[in-house]
Symmetry: C2
């Protein structure tokens, strides 16, 4: 199974399935129906079954999926993706909260460096690490072979910082700025636009 054949959105859902399956496994549950697993993951059963065929996992009618074997297979795909060192650029309110955010460390992501145009501003934020000035960015990334960056700068600076990150060797960016970033084809960007999430939700309020 070549890595590149699994589409991006499928990989995202595999992460969801893995978290649920891991919990079932810890609770010594041996099989799970596609309906139950799909419900827990918030997807349609047809979607789940299609996603799991990437592993040759077809389930057994009336029995469902074997939890133990699913855990092993999903882990072998996704574990390789964990334990990546990460840098963060932009230590405002959101940036400093993400540095403290326990959800990252729990999943094996360590923020090893943080950068800001005003490195002195973060003093009050009681951070565990020094904030480095932007002119240290390129050197830090290439010396430590960092591939993954979290971008929490304002929209006006986002593209310029992105260009610097890409030049230094960053391959994947988690973008919290409201800008749509232009990057080369070999760089992946996931956008988290919190204001749009709220706007989207409130559209459906009656």
């Amino acid at each position: 199974m070549a890595k590149f054949v699994i589409p991006r959105k499928t990989v995202y859902r595999l992460s969801l399935y893995f978290r649920i399956i891991e919990r079932l496994h810890q609770n010594r549950i041996e099989t799970v129906s596609s309906a139950a697993l799909a419900k827990a993951a918030g997807v349609k059963p047809t979607q789940l079954r299609k996603d799991l065929t990437y592993f040759g996992q077809f389930g057994t009618r009336g029995l469902g999926y074997k939890v133990g074997s699913l855990v092993t297979q999903l882990a072998s795909v996704l574990r390789t993706a964990r334990f990546q060192p990460v840098i963060l650029v932009g230590v405002g309110n959101l940036g400093s909260a993400l540095i403290h955010y326990e959800g990252f460390a729990k999943e094996g992501f360590e923020i090893v460096g943080a950068f800001d145009i005003r490195p002195e501003r973060a003093k009050g934020a009681n951070l565990r690490m020094p904030i480095l000035p932007m002119d240290r960015l390129g050197e830090f990334i290439s010396e430590r072979n960092i591939k993954l960056a979290i971008l929490t700068v304002p929209g006006t600076n986002a593209q310029a910082v992105t260009n610097a990150l890409v030049d230094a060797g960053i391959q994947a960016i988690l973008n919290f700025s409201p800008s749509i970033l232009q990057v080369p084809n070999n760089v992946v960007v996931n956008n988290v636009n919190l204001a749009i999430e709220l706007e989207n939700l409130s559209y459906f309020i009656t």
Copy 2:
């Protein structure tokens, strides 16, 4: 044009288009090609054209879309979605950062109340508002007719808090907890799982 005919993911993209179109309008640009608008929004031109047909906007071959008329039409759909009061539940690192997050206020979303099981913990966080105890949740929501909630509690408490929110009348939840929430059909949930975003990105690092 009935509100309910526009699919969720389309509404999400309309928010993106609107931000870009607004900026073009401010810069007195009168027309935009679907290719340019699609690139700025990070979607395929076919997707963009399909999305805009919900407004009877088909563009003119060789001329593109009229910026002024697109602004008006998108605004009429999306503006109704803004200026919703929001509550936040779970004032840990992420929760207190979101209370301070300027991106929400800028887009017209005001966090009018924050709740925590230990309301005294947020003292050091220098927040602009009092943190209320959980037993005030139901009363606050119904008295102020709040429909929208941000959930930043740990995964273990997420479903119980969600049940309380739904019982009190919340119709839409922006969920930052790692749990997949079970809600009635009339309640909408958008999930932001930051650890999964990083895992997803790092899968594509070579």
